[in-house]
Subunit: 327 residues, 2 copies
């Protein structure tokens, strides 16, 4: 059973998951490349190579998008959530869900090779999984994320994303929610709604402006071409997004990524959804959003140890470039 441990100084939780060390590429003096000569477990026809299917979108009997349990889960879905102390330290059992969303039956390596309708199905499944996991009272947060290419942490080439649901709120999200709550107390408005307004008025950092969503380079972007995407109207939970909005969201997400891929020559990247905790109904002060992070620069000790980043490309320049690029 993995363990969740909290660092008392930094406040962050860490999964100490010794079971995963069995993956040969997880731990070595050098980063091992992912073997490419094995049959792909995510391709249609190889379903028996994955753990059990949790949910899928089907069309005429064949699956289009498929959610399965992670074969090397960081957290275990069975078991009690036993919280305890060890002197000054806090820990609990590593209870949680770790799922993989296989985004296509074909061996595509980028989500942008899918059409907008396929991407809509992927987003719809994110939503369904989060709605389902809300029923598990041990879990308080669902983090949806995507790793593309080795350098961004992907161990499979076939386009996919992941969902980890945890019995704690991750530190970075907790801090964002706290800061947004302070802002709300002071101003009576959602910080992220105000940000949408200012970005639309300024336009300098906008990448895409669609009726219900914007994609933009954040004012204090940590990384060159870091791109955020959020609904214009206030919405605390991703899973509360109306199904009618998903096709538009799919188009904005897919196009934003395609622009980044075109601008940076198919870079490794991550995206993730910051949303509100599973165990609260709705919040006036927090607003879900996507963060898309191209991994084209090295992160050095300075950044790691300080949370203080150096970005060599002003977000206004990156935005101007992305607005123009064809995708």
């Amino acid at each position: 059973m993995p363990e969740l441990r909290r660092d008392p100084v930094a406040g962050r939780w860490v999964i100490i998951a010794s079971e995963r060390a069995k993956r040969p590429d997880d731990f070595a003096g050098e980063l091992a490349p992912t073997p490419r000569n094995l049959p792909c477990a995510f391709c249609a026809g190889n379903e028996s190579m994955t753990p059990q299917e949790i949910m899928a979108v089907r069309s005429g009997g064949a699956w289009k998008v498929r959610v399965v349990a992670n074969k090397f889960p960081a957290l275990m879905v069975e078991g009690d959530l036993s919280k305890r102390g060890d002197g000054m330290y806090d820990l609990m059992n590593g209870v949680g869900a770790h799922e993989v969303i296989i985004e296509s039956p074909r061996h595509e390596v980028s989500i942008t090779s899918l059409n907008d309708g396929d991407v809509r199905d992927v987003l719809w499944l994110y939503k369904q999984r989060l709605l389902d996991l809300r029923n598990d009272y041990r879990l308080v947060y669902g983090l949806v994320f995507k790793n593309v290419k080795d350098k961004a942490g992907a161990s499979m080439e076939h386009t996919h994303s992941q969902l980890i649901a945890t019995p704690i709120v991750p530190l970075q999200v907790e801090q964002e929610i706290r800061r947004c709550s302070e802002y709300f107390d002071y101003r009576g408005r959602c910080l992220l709604c105000d940000m949408v307004m200012q970005e639309m008025q300024s336009g300098a950092r906008m990448v895409m402006d669609s009726p219900n969503f914007i994609a933009f380079e954040p004012f204090a972007a940590r990384f060159p071409f870091e791109t955020h995407l959020m609904p214009k109207r206030h919405m605390s939970h991703f899973e509360a997004t109306d199904d009618a909005l998903l096709p538009e969201l799919a188009r904005v997400l897919r196009t934003s990524i395609a622009k980044i891929e075109a601008a940076l020559n198919q870079p490794p990247y991550n995206y993730l959804i910051h949303t509100s905790p599973l165990n609260v109904r709705s919040l006036d002060h927090y607003h879900w959003h996507f963060e898309i992070i191209p991994r084209i620069t090295r992160v050095a000790g300075f950044e790691w140890g300080s949370g203080f980043y150096i970005n060599t490309v002003p977000p206004e320049q990156a935005a101007a470039f992305l607005r123009e690029v064809r995708a």
Copy 2:
């Protein structure tokens, strides 16, 4: 002039330093290797290739350790600190210091190739630089760090470290200090002093126990073989360390790194010092420490976006291994 911008949601400051983009390896679709065929600017004899010397330790006329301005500074030491707003955003001029500590006149690629006395001189220069920068009233924090090998963000092979002094306290340090302050309010003791006590009593995560310092694997280590090093006696500021303790600290630091190098076959790594802000005299609740972070695993979107890490090697296992390894 670079700009310091604050992300209103996350609270973190980012240096938007467009000047640095001129370095060809700073920005490219693929990470470019550092050229190795040019003469090394850090070697004795090539002093004219570096910006002006700020300070040095000399012996018989020749320098042993040398501090110079960074040729590609992230922040500029000249200029006023003009703080301003842009709608809901906060920013200020990128005023600060960015220095390089060249640790040897010879082309050594690891600090462990130096002897303990040389490492003592490096630490003594860290101290002198921090003491000197305290006199600049624009600056509130001095971050000393080291990047080793490309994968950890080094752009020079020759053993060196860096110091960035900033007009803000980096987010991660600010949060640590706040949490330690809450702990002090509640318990009347320094959290890190309590941690030293518990680690010494338990012993399970200890790597080195020296009269005045311990090196250990933290309870909630983010990374395999992450190692922290701190004074046993309470001390808020690194630069307040008595010169008489520096030889012992040099030995513990050098040996800890040598153990990690032996265990992991010369991995890329970072270290950095977390210390108290330059503009406060001394704090009862915060305690300086080194964080040594081997960069042997990929950091994926999950970690980036959540501040929630998966570590596949329990710190107790790593500590047992490091205690035994010869160095």
